[in-house]
């Protein structure tokens, strides 16, 4: 202990105190202050940049999601449109088929009706002609047969006889 106290040099203590004080002062002024300030600034800058990058990434993700949504929607729309088109096509086909059927039926009916009426007309005509012919024939026959009185009387008698029989 005594040697320790003996070794203690007050002069060195004073010199060290002054030098250290100067060193602290100079270093704080010319080194530590600018260094720490720059370090803080840089760290804040890095922090800011990281946050910005994070934000950008999130935005990107949002955009991506939006894009995906849009794409999905577009796909769904296309799908729907295709489906609709198909339906329309089918409907059109069906409709036209039906229309054709109806038209055909109508035509057929008209044709049938025309045929019928033609037939009727033809039949009526034939009937008239037949009737006219028959009347003519009958006239000729009658003319022939009733050319004499006897035959006329006989006929009346026959007819009367038929009536009685009935």
């Amino acid at each position: 202990m005594e040697t320790l106290i003996n070794d203690f040099s007050p002069g060195l203590f004073v010199v060290q105190t002054i030098l250290l004080l100067g060193l602290i002062f100079l270093l704080v002024k010319f080194a530590w202050k600018p260094i720490l300030t720059s370090l803080n600034e840089r760290e804040e800058g890095i922090q800011g940049a990281l946050e910005a990058a994070d934000k950008a990434r999130k935005e990107m993700q949002n955009l991506q999601a939006d894009n995906d949504k849009l794409l999905k929607e577009a796909r769904a729309e296309r799908e729907a449109m295709l489906k609709e088109a198909r339906e329309i096509k089918e409907k059109m086909i069906a409709d036209s088929k039906e229309q054709a059927q109806i038209e055909g039926d109508k035509l057929l009916k008209q044709a049938q009706a025309a045929i019928e009426s033609e037939k009727k007309a033809a039949v009526a005509d034939i009937k008239n002609q037949v009737a006219a012919l028959s009347v003519e024939i009958a006239e000729k026959v009658l003319k022939e047969q009733l050319s004499n009185k006897d035959k006329q009387l006989k006929l009346v008698e026959d007819m009367l006889g038929d009536v009685k029989l009935n």
Binding site: G11, L12, V15, Q16, G22, L23, L27, W32, L36
Partner: protein
């Protein structure tokens, strides 16, 4: 142009250095012939001498062919406050004498050097008289402000730090990330800030103390490392130096202590009134004696011990020469001192770290905010937050 002036300056410096070494070596014809250090006692004395401060910068000694002992190194200025005022001369005037044989007469007073301390002889005395315990009876110590080897080390390290860190600071003006040597220094600065200052002082107040902590950390670390070089600086192993460092810390935490700090020291809340004065005495002793004393002794003892151990292991070369042979003793000494030196490199960092860490801790205790209206949970217990945990820890 800048390059030219720089190399010219370097040349001038080297020239001056060589010249002064030469001059110093040759100016010592009647120097005390101590001979080579070989015996155990001589080794002991040499180590004791080494860990003390020295008034000249001594590199090595050799004995020339005429049997003269030559010392290579250069002298340093001696600046002392004697009874006749300030006296200055070069340390070469003592001619390497360290036992009070050479008397230097300057400024009307006679001076001599005994065990690295400069004594002023009392008026009328022409040589030093010693009592049986080898204490000078007719001389007294003087206040010695000399540029000793330690002061030179401090100056060199100070200049180095100023250069290194101000150039690092300058780099930030032009770029965000420093290059070259600054890239080595920057992580160290960040380390001290993030691992020492911030956790011990707290996020809010660390900034104003970081300058001191950084200075002290690098100062101690570089000086510790310098002590491991063959130049043999032993600055952080000087009590005066570590005492000055410890007192800086003491002054800082005493003057930055807040109301709570003094309150807890002088009139501890939450304990019976009768115990409070006793606690105050203990707290005061702790703050003003034990804390700085532990700081100064820890650093001094660790570094001195390191120097003594390394030198003792090197001395195995001579002391065990007889029992192990030259090769054996040299090999053993080399291996052991190599590993101890490696450990010393670690210790150099560790002691700088511990000193700075404890300084930060003491400052942190003095500036810690104790908020007394804590949040309470349903049972009335304090809800600890991070700041409380830190306070409890320190």
């Amino acid at each position: 142009m800048k390059e030219v002036s720089r190399s010219f300056r370097t040349f001038l410096l080297l020239f001056t250095l060589c010249f002064s070494i030469q001059g110093f070596a040759s100016s010592d014809p009647e120097g005390e012939v101590e001979g080579a250090v070989s015996s155990k006692e001589e080794v002991d004395a040499y180590i004791q001498h080494h860990i003390k401060d020295s008034h000249d910068f001594h590199l090595f000694s050799y004995t020339n062919s005429e049997g003269e002992r030559k010392h290579v190194g250069f002298p340093l200025p001696v600046i002392i406050w004697s009874s006749n005022g300030l006296v200055t001369f070069m340390s070469s005037e003592f001619h390497h004498d360290d036992a009070g044989h050479v008397i230097v007469e300057k400024g009307g007073a006679k001076f001599t050097k005994i065990h690295s301390k400069i004594y002023e002889l009392e008026a009328g005395a022409s040589e030093v008289k010693f009592d049986e315990t080898h204490h000078a009876t007719n001389a007294h110590k003087v206040l010695d402000f000399s540029i000793t080897k330690s002061v030179m080390g401090i100056l060199l390290v100070g200049l180095f730090m100023l250069w290194a860190f101000s150039s690092l600071a300058k780099q930030y003006k032009s770029k965000k990330v420093p290059t070259g040597f600054g890239r080595v220094l920057e992580p160290l600065v960040i380390y001290v800030r993030d691992e020492i200052a911030k956790p011990n002082i707290g996020e809010k107040k660390y900034r104003q103390f970081t300058g001191y902590l950084l200075t002290v950390f690098f100062f101690i670390w570089i000086l510790n490392l310098l002590g491991l070089t063959p130049f043999g600086f032993n600055v952080t192993g000087q009590l005066a130096v570590t005492a000055a460092l410890a007192i800086f810390t003491l002054v800082i935490y005493t003057f930055s202590g807040n109301k709570d700090y003094w309150m807890h020291m002088l009139w501890m809340p939450g304990v019976p009134v009768l115990i409070r004065p006793v606690l105050a005495i203990i707290e005061l002793a702790g703050a003003f004696l034990i804390k700085p004393f532990s700081l100064l002794v820890r650093l001094f003892a660790n570094i001195s011990a390191g120097h003594i151990v390394v030198m003792s292991l090197i001395a195995i070369m001579f002391t065990l020469k007889d029992s192990l042979g030259v090769a054996g003793a040299t090999g053993l000494s080399l291996v052991l001192s190599f590993f101890i030196t490696l450990i010393e490199v670690l210790v150099a960092f560790l002691q700088a770290y511990i000193f700075t860490m404890l300084s930060a801790l003491f400052i942190g205790m003095a500036v810690a905010e104790h908020d007394h209206d804590h949040e309470h949970d349903s049972l009335g217990h304090d809800v600890p937050d991070a700041e409380d945990v830190r306070e409890n820890f320190i």
